[in-house]
């Protein structure tokens, strides 16, 4: 006998959209298993930690405003920059990415929820509680202070006896489990829950990128979990994984951490690449150019991601052969990304461009991320790396790719999907102000850091000597940082204002191409009663313009002039 379908009781009233305005209030949110609610909660978690991590780094920048500043003690400073990095990677970027994925993937593939809704809820709460555990360290004897990368032997008990690092390990283990379960949930959903008719090659690029990200998470997070578990054993039970006195190896930590850490940065960027692919297509009124190459290069990046980690360790002295191999592989991994950049440019070429705020962030991304990519390639060359590693040059690089890549992707996604998620429109004029202020602030903060690094300013120093040029460059950087902070507050205002009294958003404000836009804004609990037929990668456009549908032109160059 066939198994009886399990009927999950649906709430009578509509879902609360973004606030606590429904009659069920907070309890509805806490007990939520619907992917849309969980997606929104992920985004609120990301926003909360965006502000926390921002406060941390603004304090750091104040301390660096003048040489030999005494605003912060070295102990406090070290905790602040450690928490800034840890927060940004694990509690801002990851929740935001998983928030978008959780919200959008079912809608984009014509499904009504993720494969495992309760597992989805568990993932969110583990991520959030892991973050809370990490932050609890401030109240429990001090935050972790050995850097977000937490190298041995500094992370060992005899060099860091405050419990901060133990909280770092425990918090990240907890959050990490949340991330892995979310990734597995998304992979199963994408591979098994597509509406019949949506072949893999009809999936939106964003869904492809989430699929690849999911595999990266499954493969890479265990290395971090193993390292954290080993460190806890070292610190609490006096094991000897990382302490050289007893035969352990400090380099083992580095290998395990970067075996995770390098794929992690691709985990952070592939979803942004997916978001930008959607945005370039819709706002150039063309299909994304070279879909197969965009997807194929994404697969190449995911595979190569595991072959470059030693470029974080050129100064460890692993030998010329090892260094040479990883130098070559690190240069090689720039190629698929370059392919993507050209594909996006080709998407814009001869398109009828609409510079909505989402599109502005996309165009800015092309510039900023390329700068970041080029600086990265520059120190894939080992001798250059030996000079520039652990200087502000690397800080500049990582922020150009993290902010110019990941964060701009998240912002672009916000301006693109906010109407769908909330049913309200964001204020266009204020949003443009936000864009310019943030981009200006961002470049002011980090462009000068390339120079500071080349002049020899080390990373992670709580102050610096009064060497020529260092003070003024640091001052520019600090002022830029505060400008970014002000812009972020403006963003907060824009969001809250739209939620409170923004104009109602139509279901399809951008005349877009993919399935999520066929639902109402915001979508109903069930997402879809029926899904329109899917016969190409732009099903909604096919539905809206059946005479000019993509599936009528199989194999031909589609839509060079199509609107």
């Amino acid at each position: 006998m066939a198994p009886q379908p399990v009927l999950v009781p649906e709430p009578e009233q509509p879902l609360p959209s973004l606030g606590l305005d429904s009659s069920q209030g907070l309890l509805q949110w806490i007990s939520a298993v619907d992917h849309k609610q969980l997606g929104i909660m992920y985004l609120w978690v990301a926003l909360l930690f965006l502000l926390a991590g921002g406060l941390e780094i603004l304090l750091v920048r104040v301390q660096l405003f003048v040489p030999r500043n005494t605003f912060l003690s070295p102990e406090t400073y070290n905790q602040l920059f450690t928490m800034h990095g840890t927060t940004r990677v694990f509690l801002v970027a990851m929740p935001a990415i998983f928030g978008y994925a959780t919200y959008l993937v079912p809608l984009m593939i014509g499904a009504n929820d993720l494969a495992y809704p309760r597992l989805n809820a568990l993932s969110l709460w583990l991520t959030f509680f892991g973050g809370c555990l990490l932050y609890f360290s401030f109240l429990a004897g001090g935050g972790p202070d050995a850097g977000w990368f937490n190298y041995a032997p500094l992370n060992q008990y005899n060099y860091s006896s405050s419990p901060g690092i133990d909280y770092y390990c425990a918090g990240l283990l907890l959050s990490g489990i949340g991330t892995v379960t979310a990734a597995i949930n998304l992979v199963v959903t994408i591979l098994r829950y597509r509406i019949p008719g949506m072949r893999l090659k009809d999936m939106p690029v964003f869904v492809w990128m989430i699929l690849l990200t999911g595999f990266l998470v499954v493969a890479a997070f265990p290395a971090l979990n193993a390292a954290l578990a080993m460190l806890l054993l070292d610190r609490q039970l006096h094991a000897h994984f990382f302490n050289a006195d007893a035969g352990g190896s400090a380099v083992l930590w580095q290998h395990l951490f970067w075996l995770f850490g390098h794929p992690e940065v691709y985990i952070l960027i592939l979803p942004a690449f997916g978001i930008f692919s959607e945005i370039f297509a819709v706002f150039s009124r063309k299909p994304v150019f070279g879909y197969a190459f965009i997807v194929g290069s994404g697969i190449a990046i995911a595979l190569l991601a595991f072959g470059v980690w030693v470029h974080h360790m050129f100064a460890v002295g692993l030998g010329n052969t090892v260094n040479g191999f990883f130098s070559a592989s690190s240069m090689l991994i720039g190629v698929p990304t370059g392919i993507k950049i050209f594909n996006w440019l080709a998407t814009m070429y001869k398109g009828s461009l609409r510079f909505t705020v989402a599109m502005r962030f996309a165009v800015a991304f092309l510039v900023e991320f390329t700068i970041g990519g080029l600086s990265g390639i520059s120190f894939a060359i080992v001798p250059i790396d030996l000079q520039l590693t652990d200087t502000y040059y690397v800080v500049a690089h990582i922020h150009y790719v993290f902010i110019g890549g990941t964060l701009f992707g998240l912002f672009a996604g916000l301006f693109y999907w906010f109407p769908k998620i909330s049913g309200k429109l964001l204020d266009e004029r204020l949003s443009r102000w936000f864009f310019w202020l943030f981009v200006l602030g961002f470049n002011a903060t980090f462009l000068v850091q390339h120079v500071l690094g080349a002049l020899g300013m080390s990373r992670r120093i709580y102050t610096y000597p009064d060497l020529p040029g260092w003070a003024i460059l640091n001052q520019i950087s600090t002022l830029g940082g505060f400008l970014m902070g002000a812009a972020t507050l403006l963003l907060l205002y824009i969001i809250v204002k739209a939620i409170r009294r923004g104009p109602a958003a139509p279901p399809d404000p951008w005349d877009a191409y993919t399935l999520e836009w066929t639902t109402s804004s915001p979508p109903t609990l069930q997402n879809f009663d029926r899904v329109i037929p899917v016969r190409s990668a732009r099903p909604y456009r096919d539905y809206k313009r059946p005479d000019d549908a993509d599936y009528l032109k199989p194999g031909k160059k589609k839509g060079v002039h199509g609107k």
Binding site: V180, V218, A229, L237, F241
Partner: protein, 185 residues
């Protein structure tokens, strides 16, 4: 159909975790002095016995699965109980071995052998324990009549995990207990 993919992904991520622990063990084992410790501390014969019990539990689990598919709830419950018993005996054997090593003052904090050995086998034991808990739940539910008729994917899904735990142990046993008898550095 999606549950199989789910458990395969879970197994994949856990496999990477064990790979990391194994790499740590192997990298420490290349240092002179480690192998002697290994040979002195470990006895592949007694551990081989409980290893056999764990492998047997995979077979008894497969019997349980077959009984479920045939709609034979009585046999299902029997084979589940036997599987749990074999798994529990494995853990007891491990516990005895650990006890013996602790008495000889070999533990996590002794040296890199102790550190990497107890971590690798300890995490494996934890995975066996989790498996036993899940099997216990399944047994309880089957006694309550939930699995009198076939149609659920639960047994094939849990089976993937249980067999995985076995395979990990096969690798660990080989590398940690058997290999040092055949290598000379």
């Amino acid at each position: 159909m999606e549950n199989k993919l789910l458990i395969q992904l879970v197994v994949a991520t856990e496999a990477m975790f064990f790979a990391a622990l194994l790499i740590a063990f192997v990298s420490f084992s290349l240092v002179p002095g480690f192998r002697e410790q290994q040979l002195a501390a470990l006895d592949w014969r007694t551990t081989g016995l409980v290893t056999g019990l764990l492998f047997a539990s995979s077979f008894t689990y497969m019997r349980a699965e077959a009984s479920y598919r045939r709609g034979a709830p009585g046999r299902l419950r029997l084979w589940l109980l036997v599987t749990i018993a074999l798994g529990a005996l494995f853990l007891l054997g491990q516990a005895r071995e650990f006890e013996g090593l602790f008495q000889r003052h070999l533990d996590l904090s002794s040296n890199t052998f102790g550190t990497s050995f107890f971590t690798l086998t300890g995490f494996h034991g934890l995975h066996v324990l989790v498996g036993l808990l899940v099997l216990g739940i399944l047994t309880g539910l089957s006694f309550a009549g939930d699995y009198d008729r076939p149609g659920s994917t639960i047994f094939s899904t849990v089976g993937v995990y249980w067999h995985f735990v076995d395979i990990v142990w096969a690798v660990v046993f080989l590398v940690v207990y058997v290999l040092p008898h055949f290598t000379r550095l």
